[in-house]
Subunit: 191 residues, 2 copies
């Protein structure tokens, strides 16, 4: 479709890009990434320091629970730490996008990496969530008793640290969406 | 950058797109989606029919295990069924992409939907995986005993059905990657 008065394509990099079009998206991207850093860092610390020792003990057994006892919780801490580092590493790239809103290759790269990290974080968070659910409710057919009556603080700590992680999942979905919107706007600007 | 002998942009839709450039990607996309249908359907059926009754029983208790007893397994079945339906629904779109390799909006839409579904499937699969791990190994600090000694067939069925689901996760990652590659190639063709 040829519209009248259309710019030639070679000028695309010369014309002033409409202010605020992709800049606003990039700023929001940066803010979301900062939220993601906070969420995953909080989740990793909250789970990593989660520990409870019961005030009674027998001669042979001391009753304590810590996140290390559950593989899924250990995975959770590791995954959150990785994703937190990833967020920190992508913040410079996000700042570059604010200044150069025509960047294309790095946006696509960021979308792909975000997707991989989203999958990783979702895996860690939901594995931990299923254990937290089991700790709260137990399972009668396998005779796994709910342990939250005894380890109340431990359970609360574990449940709380899930919040930060699921917040970061929402951040990832928004960030990927923003990236796709920015890409499709760019192509409209150029075509 | 202006290169000599460059086509004007208005001709972009008229020039014959180099054959096989995005067509090959779209064909691979279709094949991967078919693999995904098989994987998730197999996983949902294998888990949904998973049940074991032990050959002994007392007067009051019959020992049986089925996927319904675990919330995470129920989630697993539901999620796999949803993702399987999603794969089936996107196959026509994938065929359209084979015929019209310049389609742009539908590709972006597909990438976003794929990302959401990837997150959903990863959540379901890893929640189930953490329960399967617990069933195999138990947890000493909460006194959850491993139940796979008694319910051997049940455990094997559950473990097996995870394979289909994790296969579909790989399919999603590949499909999203292919979509991003196709999009970036399109923009190169047009610029």
């Amino acid at each position: 479709m040829m519209k009248p008065g259309r710019l030639e394509e070679g000028d695309a990099s010369k014309i002033p890009v409409p202010a605020g079009s992709n800049k606003g998206i990039s700023v929001m991207d940066l803010i979301l990434r900062l939220v993601g850093v906070t969420g995953t860092l909080g989740a990793a610390i909250a789970m990593g320091t989660n520990e409870q020792t019961l005030p009674f003990f027998t001669r042979f057994v001391r009753f304590d629970a810590q996140y290390d006892d559950f593989r899924s919780f250990r995975l959770f801490v590791v995954v959150n730490a990785i994703v937190c580092a990833y967020f920190v590493l992508t913040i410079p790239l996000s700042i570059v996008h604010i200044m150069r809103s025509v960047a294309r290759g790095t946006r696509i790269l960021l979308i792909i990496l975000d997707t991989v990290m989203l999958a990783l974080l979702t895996a860690g968070a939901s594995a931990a969530a299923s254990i937290v659910y089991l700790a709260h409710n137990g399972n009668s057919s396998t005779n796994w008793l709910p342990v939250c009556q005894q380890y109340g603080d431990f359970c609360q700590g574990a449940s709380g640290s899930l919040i930060g992680s699921f917040g970061a999942i929402v951040v990832f979905i928004l960030v990927i969406l923003l990236g796709a919107v920015a890409l499709s706007r760019q192509s409209k600007l150029r075509l």
